[in-house]
């Protein structure tokens, strides 16, 4: 399967803490993307990191990519209750298909 795996499957933290989610994948990639999904809704694109990049920031989000280990991490700093959602990594192998990971369910407790 080309699907990535995310770790942990579920994460519960207090508001203000940092949340880290990890993604591992199996094939060479063009880029890796992170998406957020609120319960019962569509996905929202958060950040895209290309295979030649190692780190990228967007607001409270920090994404790293290690192509030698085929892994990526998403760090959300100073979490808020509104960050409660499922987070998916998705790999793009340049075929116009995105292969989504299994997702991490994040709960931020006010």
């Amino acid at each position: 399967s080309q699907q990535g795996e995310e770790d942990p499957q579920a994460l519960s933290i207090q508001e203000g803490e940092n949340a880290t989610m990890n993604c591992s994948y199996k094939t060479s990639i063009n880029n890796l993307q992170w998406y957020r999904q609120n319960s019962g809704r569509g996905l929202v694109h958060l950040i895209l990191i290309r295979s030649n990049e190692r780190e990228k920031h967007s607001g409270r989000l920090r994404v790293t990519l290690d192509t030698s280990k085929k892994s990526s991490s998403l760090l959300i700093t100073a979490s808020r209750a509104a960050d409660t959602a499922s987070y998916f990594c998705a790999t793009d192998e340049g075929t116009n298909n995105l292969f989504f990971g299994t997702g991490t369910r994040l709960t931020v407790i006010p």
Partner: protein, 112 residues
């Protein structure tokens, strides 16, 4: 605002009764996608259009068909829905290959 719109948001159909889900976009993107997402699972790509070129995933059942009559609209037809087809169906668009995708809110399909 530019966006991806899906109708209806909730659809109930009977076992074996054909159903059509619709998606429209105001982003003028070249690529449109249909995903199936079952409860607590990752979205699974069914097929996508690059302009008018249709690309079917190898494991997408023949029961699922798609039409893209113009740049703005794309339809998902399920010819004979089974109980296993109950899921959230997500439409997405992207400007081109290897760009971020913009998702609609989804249509939740129930099969009775």
């Amino acid at each position: 605002d530019a966006m991806v719109i899906q109708n209806p948001r909730y659809q109930v159909t009977q076992f074996g009764k054909p159903v059509t889900l619709s998606c429209s976009q105001t982003l003028n993107h070249n690529v449109m996608y249909w995903y199936q997402q079952k409860s607590s699972q990752a979205p699974k790509l069914l097929f996508h259009y690059y302009d008018k070129d249709f690309n079917n995933e190898a494991d997408t059942p023949d029961n699922f068909q798609s039409r893209r009559p113009n740049t703005s609209f794309c339809f998902l037809d399920i010819r004979s829905p089974g109980l296993g087809d109950a899921a959230m169906y997500l439409c997405a668009t992207s400007r081109d290959n290897s760009y971020e995708q913009y998702f609609g809110p989804g249509t939740r399909l129930t099969v009775t």
